[in-house]
């Protein structure tokens, strides 16, 4: 995983550098330092340091620590976070928050269904009041024609 992460950074760094050299001029039309000046320095340095780091990663590839037993829970929480954002677009702010809390607490805290239900109702309402009513920030309305 560590090597894959370093490789991913290297790919992004190489792409960044190629754009910096290919699409951004080093000097402006007025002869001053142009938009490509700084990105070229950053890109080249990033590629060089990532390669250097990758060398160390490869050298110690057999000493990588095993995953903790909680990696699957982490993955589930990350997936739920992503689904929550999708829910925001579909259901709107308040309903998506309630649904997310209910599902998350059902997954993480199964032994207290009543507590979960109460938190899932009142915490989203509290956040709705703070952001939508007090701060007038406006929450996502959602695509579905729901009353809230």
């Amino acid at each position: 995983m560590r090597i894959a992460f370093s490789l991913a950074i290297l790919c992004v760094a190489a792409f960044y550098t190629s754009v910096a050299f290919g699409g951004l001029p080093f000097l402006s039309s007025a002869g001053r330092l142009g938009p490509g000046f700084f990105p070229r320095i950053i890109g080249l340095s990033l590629v060089a340091f990532t390669l250097y780091n990758l060398y160390f990663d490869l050298k110690r590839r057999n000493r990588e620590e095993p995953l903790t037993p909680f990696w699957s829970t982490t993955l589930v929480v990350a997936l739920l976070s992503a689904l929550f954002i999708v829910g925001l677009e579909l259901l709107g702010g308040l309903l998506a928050m309630m649904a997310f809390m209910l599902v998350s607490l059902f997954v993480l805290n199964r032994r207290q269904p009543v507590v979960n239900a109460l938190i899932s109702i009142f915490l989203p309402i509290g956040i709705y009041v703070v952001f939508s009513v007090w701060l007038r920030a406006g929450l996502p309305e959602g695509l579905l024609p729901l009353p809230i």
Partner: protein
């Protein structure tokens, strides 16, 4: 106007009822942020920044600053009662804080940490009051070369402090710089790395990245470490102890430790990149070295708790000096504070104290009041925070995800920024997992545009010659300091390697 008049002006601003309310909310929230393990002030500030948008700027920044220094107080409660530091700056407080609690002295330890934190924080604010105007005056003579070198020194310090994984720190910094180049180049008007997207023309906003890296990233990492599976069963029941207050012996034993910790912490806090964690660990070492009974450290010495506590609070005050007078943050937390300043159109730097005295001195005066409030809250509201410690992480965490997501959306009403925050969260988790530095990325993202602008201005002034950095006295001094930092770090590393080699080699004659 002299310092005293300025301070009175600041007090008049800070004592406005609405500002006092914001300050008290900030101190309480800071305490709460501090006691949640795996959730530092950077995360707390980033997540709560959007909540302050509807507020008046001075009150909002006072509240955010209170969250920042309040978290230093809060983190120690779990260090003492649970042997789990609420955040990295309170790691040193577990060394003697928890043994004290095990010996039935949790009450005196909790009171002593509150008093030490108050003394450290207050000495820190007194030093800000005295030194910040001088710093600002000196900084007025700085030009682009000096500012560029200062930015580089701050980032270098941060990378050096990472230790053996310094190359990961460099990569983290470069990623932040790269993110900072997205958007319109202000000097030529050209678009960079926007790929035709209208959303990227104004650049990558700081808030989704900070909330993602610090908030979501930390949260995923806490799940990965199994924090949700741990209960608070091991918490020490301080209510059952006979004595709650420290005795005379404790006050005598710690009087110099607090003073030493405060001064050391402030100096380290002023240095960009060093911060409260280093300050508290160094203060612990200093106390141990200064003690007549160093062998008792780690077994429940009150000075081993008071010194680091005074240091981490004084460091958080010290970190405000470069932020206010140079506009250069030295850590992830102060980078978020800088972003808050900029959001309200306040440009920290040499002219801030002259152009916005009500704001600058109001903030400083609020820190005096904030420390007093925190002392009272720490001593009398401990039962409330113990209740908070008992709140299981598995219930708390979904609420944090909710606030991160809604907070990010609230800034510009952009769902794309929410997705950006989510991606930054995943990347932040992987960065933390593999030893990268999300703080360096955020700091570089904030400072990147300034670094680029000052470098281009410098090279324009010098007609492309880098010799300008050597020809100007201040920039040369900063350069020499940077060289000294690199050499010192290399020497330290070499000596550690030698010591390890000597330790692993078979003893002669064995």
């Amino acid at each position: 106007m002299d310092i005293f008049d300025n301070l009175l002006l600041g007090l008049a601003v800070a004592l406005q009822p609405i500002n006092i309310v914001y300050l008290l909310i900030g101190t309480m929230v800071g305490m709460f942020v501090g006691i949640i393990p795996g959730f530092g002030p950077s995360a707390g500030l980033a997540i709560l920044l959007p909540v302050t948008f509807g507020m008046e700027p001075t009150g909002a920044v006072m509240m955010l600053a209170a969250i920042y220094y309040g978290s230093m107080y809060g983190g120690t409660i779990t260090s003492i009662l649970l042997n789990t530091p609420g955040e990295s700056a309170t790691v040193a407080s577990t060394f003697d804080g928890y043994p004290l609690a095990q010996q039935g002295r949790a009450g005196p330890a909790l009171v002593m940490q509150a008093v030490a934190s108050f003394i450290g924080g207050t000495i820190g604010v007194i030093l800000i009051t005295l030194l910040a105007p001088l710093f600002a005056q000196v900084a007025r003579s700085f030009g682009p070369p000096e500012f560029f070198m200062l930015i580089m020194m701050g980032l270098l310090m941060l990378v050096v402090m990472i230790g053996e994984n310094w190359r990961l720190g460099v990569i983290s910094t470069l990623i932040g710089f790269a993110l900072g180049t997205v958007g319109v180049d202000l000097e030529t008007g050209s678009q960079r790395f926007t790929f035709g997207s209208a959303e990227l023309i104004e650049g990558i906003d700081f808030i989704p990245i900070a909330i993602g890296l610090f908030g979501l990233g930390e949260l995923y990492y806490s799940f990965y470490e199994g924090l949700h599976a741990k209960g608070s069963g091991g918490i020490i029941q301080y209510q059952k102890e006979k004595r709650f207050w420290p005795d005379l012996r404790d006050w005598i034993d710690t009087r110099f430790a607090m003073l030493r910790g405060s001064l050391l912490g402030f100096v380290i806090g002023v240095l960009p990149g060093a911060g409260a964690t280093i300050a508290s660990l160094m203060a612990y070492s200093v106390e141990k070295a200064a003690s007549k009974t160093p062998e008792r450290f780690g077994k429940g010495m009150m000075a081993g708790l008071a010194g680091p506590e005074a240091a981490n609070n004084a460091a958080s005050s010290g970190a405000m000096v470069p932020l206010l007078t140079l506009g250069i943050p030295g850590s992830g937390s102060t980078a978020v504070l800088l972003a808050a300043f900029l959001l309200w159109g306040l440009q920290p730097g040499p002219l801030l104290m002259a152009q916005n005295p009500e704001f600058a001195w109001g903030l400083i005066a609020s820190m005096y009041l904030g420390n007093v409030a925190l002392l009272a809250i720490n001593i009398f509201a401990i039962p409330l925070f113990v209740l908070m410690i008992r709140l299981p992480y598995r219930i708390l965490a979904p609420g944090v995800i909710l606030i991160c997501t809604i907070g990010t959306y609230a800034v510009h009403g952009s769902i794309i920024e929410v997705w950006l925050m989510f991606i930054a969260g995943l990347v932040g988790f992987l960065m933390k997992l593999y030893g990268f530095s999300p703080a360096a990325t955020v700091l570089a993202l904030v400072l990147g545009p300034m670094a680029e602008e000052t470098l281009r201005q410098t090279l324009t002034i010098s007609r492309g010659s880098a010799m300008i950095f050597i020809e100007r006295g201040v920039s040369l001094t900063i350069l020499l300091v940077m060289v000294a930092i690199v050499l010192a770090a290399a020497a330290l590393r070499l000596s550690r390697t030698r010591a390890r080699a000597a330790g692993s080699a078979p003893a002669v004659g064995s």
